[in-house]
């Protein structure tokens, strides 16, 4: 079986005014459909950089990124955006919902620019699934942190991605709410066969993950 996403010998270097910082050093990584992988490591270890490379938001300096067996390392911005839309759902620590849009509209955002007549229906179903069927038309500021993260999860799922990337998904949530979000991840990857990759310091996440990868100073331990 091909991995849904794979990094081969990935290096990422930043030139910060004369000094070259190596954020990722020869990283090999993969995730399979239905798998829950957590990436742990201290801050500054390159976790976010790795997530950005996995999510086609950033390109590696060296190495190869394979998405569903296809080499996507050197795609143009337009093609990368198209691939992101099709394959990847993002969840952020601070939710990043658009404050002027309702919960339903926020979930629809990834489908908005493009002809997608069933988007509203899918968005409604997803919000019902994450337990917000009665909050469809609430604005983000009318929702609690856990509810916002559920909206963000619904948004990440609306294009039926194969990979869900989460950057500190429980970072802004209390323990109990964090747990309910993680339960939701667990359900999603089992039911939808989605690979969930979460970057975190939260040890609680380790209980849910099939596999935990430690990243220290840009290297997988």
């Amino acid at each position: 079986m091909t991995h849904i996403i794979e990094l081969q010998h990935v290096w990422k270097r930043y030139d910060t005014g004369g000094e070259v910082v190596e954020a990722l050093k020869d990283v090999d990584f993969y995730a399979d459909p239905g798998e829950f992988v957590s990436v742990m490591g201290p801050s500054g270890s390159g976790k976010s950089t790795m997530l950005n490379v996995l999510g086609l938001l950033d390109t590696p300096t060296e190495g190869t990124v394979l998405l569903d067996g296809q080499d996507v390392t050197d795609l143009s911005d337009h093609e990368m955006t198209t691939q992101r839309k099709q394959f990847v759902g993002f969840i952020f620590q601070s939710f990043h919902l658009i404050p002027t849009l309702s919960a339903l509209e926020n979930v629809e955002v990834p489908t908005l620019f493009g002809d997608d007549p069933s988007a509203r229906e899918r968005a409604t179903d997803l919000l019902e699934r994450v337990g917000l069927g009665n909050r469809l038309h609430y604005r983000p500021d009318q929702l609690s942190g856990g509810q916002k993260q559920r909206v963000a999860i619904a948004r990440a799922l609306v294009n039926e991605p194969r990979i869900l990337l989460a950057d500190e998904p429980t970072g802004n949530l209390d323990r109990k709410t964090g747990r309910s979000v993680l339960d939701l991840f667990d359900e999603i990857r089992r039911e939808d066969d989605v690979a969930v990759i979460a970057v975190t310091h939260d040890p609680q996440l380790g209980e849910y993950a099939d596999r935990t990868v430690q990243l220290v100073d840009g290297r997988i331990q």
């Binding site: 938001l57 955006t81 992101r84 839309k85 993002f90 952020f92 620590q93 002027t100 990834p110 620019f113």
Partner: protein, 381 residues
């Protein structure tokens, strides 16, 4: 409501733009205000120019439709003969030829007396209209009195007046000529031609229906009468009115230019607003890019915002401009409906177009900047 839902569904950039603008109403409102002022300035200054021109045209009257032929005194021609008049009549295809003699004389009625210009002409009906009484086609007896003279002498049709010792019965009091005229009737008395001393004519006036016909007549008369030597001077007022028209055209352009400056200022304020709001929203835009929104769609979204500001400012500005035009025209011309001339709609259209154009132009840089920011950078906390 369903219309907007439908529109937003079709053009999602508009939905996002609309919501973004409502986020900071005061700021959006101020940006719109800038465009309103700019559009109002261009449109109302343009209309102001039209009002000036219309007012001037009213003052000038139909002067452009008349030409005057007089003997060339420098060449020794003292007066125009019947032959000259025949030639003029042959040259003029469209218009009435009125040969006349003039002098100044004392006009009196009882104790009242005044000095007036006396015109001797056979067919005054071609030039004048009556205010009271009737202007005959052929003036064989009686006199026509200009409104100014009639007022001084306190006369009306049916009275008799004495001109240079001769007694006339007044056939009509002539309507006051508002504009400038080659042979103004206001302080004059028109009598039959043979009653004014002389054999030839001191002047021939040709009255046409249009400035163009007058111009053609003038050319034809010059060709015909001045073929061998410069017998006559042909005085055309059309050249003057054209010059005046041109002058007002320049004033108009100048006024609109001034108006455009305010629109440029408005454009800068929109640029500022859009730039601020895209900087504030860089994370959001980063999220949009992360979830698969293309660069082009981000550009469209921000241009739609700028465009909406422009449309709102343009529409409100246009409405205010029409109001200003109505006020101005009712004040200056006593005719508020003079606002609704095609040329004014052109100015309004121009102003609104400029307003929307300026807004979109001002949105270009912020849009480009937002779309080209790498989502990774934008999302960094």
């Amino acid at each position: 409501m369903s219309f907007f839902d439908d529109l937003f569904r079709r053009v999602p950039a508009l939905l996002m733009a609309r919501r973004n603008l409502s986020r900071n109403r005061i700021r959006s409102g101020l940006a719109v205000l800038g465009i309103i002022i700019g559009v109002l300035a261009i449109a109302s200054l343009g209309m102001f120019g039209t009002t000036l021109r219309t007012g001037a045209d009213q003052q000038l009257g139909e002067i452009g439709n008349e030409i005057s032929i007089s003997p060339n005194l420098q060449e020794g021609v003292e007066e125009l003969t019947d032959r000259d008049v025949d030639e003029i009549e042959r040259a003029v295809t469209d218009g009435e030829v009125v040969p006349l003699r003039s002098e100044s004389a004392l006009v009196s009625r009882g104790q009242q007396q005044t000095v007036a210009t006396i015109y001797g002409m056979e067919n005054p009906g071609a030039l004048y209209e009556a205010q009271e009484g009737r202007v005959p086609d052929r003036l064989r007896q009686g006199a026509l009195v200009g409104s100014g003279t009639a007022e001084i002498l306190d006369v009306e049709p049916g009275n008799t007046i004495s001109v240079d010792g001769r007694t006339y019965r007044i056939a009509a009091v002539l309507a006051e000529e508002q504009g400038i005229s080659l042979v103004s009737p206001n302080n004059a008395v028109v009598v039959p031609l043979e009653d004014v001393n002389g054999t030839g004519y001191s002047q021939v006036v040709v009255s046409s229906d249009s400035g163009q016909a007058a111009n053609e007549s003038a050319v034809a008369i010059r060709e015909s009468l001045n073929e061998r030597d410069e017998r006559v001077n042909v005085f055309e007022l059309q050249a003057i009115t054209q010059g005046i028209d041109q002058f007002f055209g320049i004033i108009n352009t100048f006024l609109i230019g001034i108006g455009s400056i305010s629109l440029v200022v408005a454009g800068v304020s929109i640029l500022n607003v859009m730039l601020m709001s895209t900087i504030e929203r860089r994370q959001e835009i980063g999220v949009l890019r992360a979830v698969g929104v293309q660069r082009g769609d981000v550009i469209r979204m921000i241009l739609a915002e700028a465009g909406l500001l422009g449309v709102a400012g343009g529409v409100i500005g246009a409405i205010l401009a029409v109001g200003a035009g109505v006020a101005l025209n009712s004040f200056v011309l006593n005719d508020p409906l003079a606002t609704f001339q095609p040329v004014n709609f052109l100015y309004i259209l121009l102003a609104v177009g400029f307003g929307i154009g300026t807004s979109i132009l001002s949105g270009l840089y912020p849009a480009w900047k937002a779309a080209n920011e790498r989502p990774v950078e934008a999302l960094r906390k």
